[in-house]
Amino acid sequence: MTLDVEQIRKDFPILERETRPGVRVTYLDSTATSQKPVQVIEAMNDYYRRSNANIHRGVHTLAEEATSMYEGAREKIAKFINAASSREVIYTRNTTESINLVAYAWARAKLKTGDLVILTEMEHHSNLVPWHMLQMERGIELDFIPVTEEGLLDLETYKSLLDRRPKLISFTHMSNVLGTVNPAAEIIRLGHDAGAVVLVDGAQSVPHLKVDVQALDADFYAFSAHKMCGPTGIGVLYGKSTLLESMPPFLGGGDMIKEVKLRSFRPNTLPHKFEAGTPAIAEAVGFGVAVDYLSAVGMERIAAHEHEIIEYALDRLEEIPGVKLFGPSADKKGGVAAFTLEGVHPHDVAQILDRDGIAVRAGHHCAQPLHEKFGIPATSRASFYLYNTMQEVDLLVNGIYKVKEMFG
């Protein structure tokens, strides 16, 4: 059964927004951040109106309610990605902090000068800069799985890089520019065979695909709520409990401790060991409801819907003279279409589309090295989610024709 998109759209109040009088928004920027269903918005609203309190150490009713809502959300998220236990789900601010947590608490404890970390050429800055920083500080080595012209990872080169016994492989499950869905299970298996720990940047995959961290056998898996119908301000680092237990804490403070003396402390057990200070409580509550929402719609159905749209979008965009698309064909990617239009800068494309309410992103999308690889400073990017329609693809295509006309 396919998605009832019209029904779903009713859950997203912002889709009725007019960005100028009479012009309703056509939101094609879900890869940057998704919109939120009213269920998620109302859950947080309700939390603040009925249950708000600080968690964990409170005995009173509100504190107990808040604690069980906060921890209940963690259980839901653990189930959503099929973690073995909710102890393996660490709340962070976003994917970026999740990756930095691994860079600070795992890598700084385990990696020495000369140790090799393998990344890919299609990484988001969030999976590059933490490793640049560690390279400067610690003298680790970095190498990269190349991206082919088609926009796929070159697995043959990966295999030869593995001969150098890397300590860590860190790669994105799905590219936020090319849309490429990488063969995560295979990359992880090969990495493990070579004795490496594997971190997956799941910022784009968890929102759009059914992800099973145990089936993938990922050691660490990072994602953000705001890209998957949840609020800003909260993300997750999933980690295998054996790994998380072997790590020193990251941030120090309230809640991450079992006991504090004037001159020493004992860290708390998982997952609290990595959550210092008052966490994003309302946001966790909203995140839990986002996961409920996505589960109720069904991740397979969402993926299938996006597949239909991207297939249509690539077909239609390809027809436009001067449009150049980046990334593989629809069968190998998620709902992301990055393109250039000959003679018009992506910023101008985006801004002119915006006059018709069409929201696409323009720039390097936090993947400058990938753009450099393709010899361009920027692209325009339209991205699709469960609430997008075929008609919105048509609006985009018409909009691009208008741009061409203006600059013609």
């Binding site: 964990h56 005995v59 504190a63 107990e64 604690t67 079992k258 057990t269």
Partner: protein, 131 residues
């Protein structure tokens, strides 16, 4: 469930029937809950047939931790040591006859944690013992 401080709790807190130490003893274990300072020590005597012949608890802390220790000790005297291993969260909540939030649950389960760590001969008491 409403009357969280059922008389039974206040009563066992104020007038515990099994407070004290056993010397000599066969098993002794102590632990505390650093969050609230509750402390419990439990001493056991075990017969050659594996039955618990006598038991005492000592310590200090909130009414729930102390009352549940007293109730727990009362319930195990005369029972086979093996049966202690089967006790869990529900056993304690049943004895107390109340529902507890996550923070107070820790108070209620401290004595069981101490008891099981002693019976299993562990070096440290872990929360997993009372899940």
């Amino acid at each position: 469930m409403d009357d969280l401080y059922r008389e039974i709790i206040i009563e066992h807190y104020k007038n515990p029937s099994h407070r004290g130490k056993l010397d000599p003893h066969d098993i002794s274990f102590a632990d505390n809950n650093p969050l609230c300072g509750d402390h419990i020590q439990i001493d056991l005597r075990v017969g050659t047939d594996g039955l618990i012949t006598d038991a005492r608890f000592d310590g200090h802390g909130c009414a729930i931790s102390q009352a549940s220790a007293d109730l727990l000790i009362e319930s195990i005297i005369g029972k086979p040591l093996e049966e202690v291993k089967k006790l869990n969260k529900e056993s304690i909540l049943e004895m107390l006859g109340i529902d507890l939030g996550p923070v107070r649950l820790k108070c209620a389960l401290l004595s069981l944690k101490v008891l099981k760590a002693g019976v299993y001969g562990l070096g440290e008491a872990s929360d997993d013992l009372v899940e």
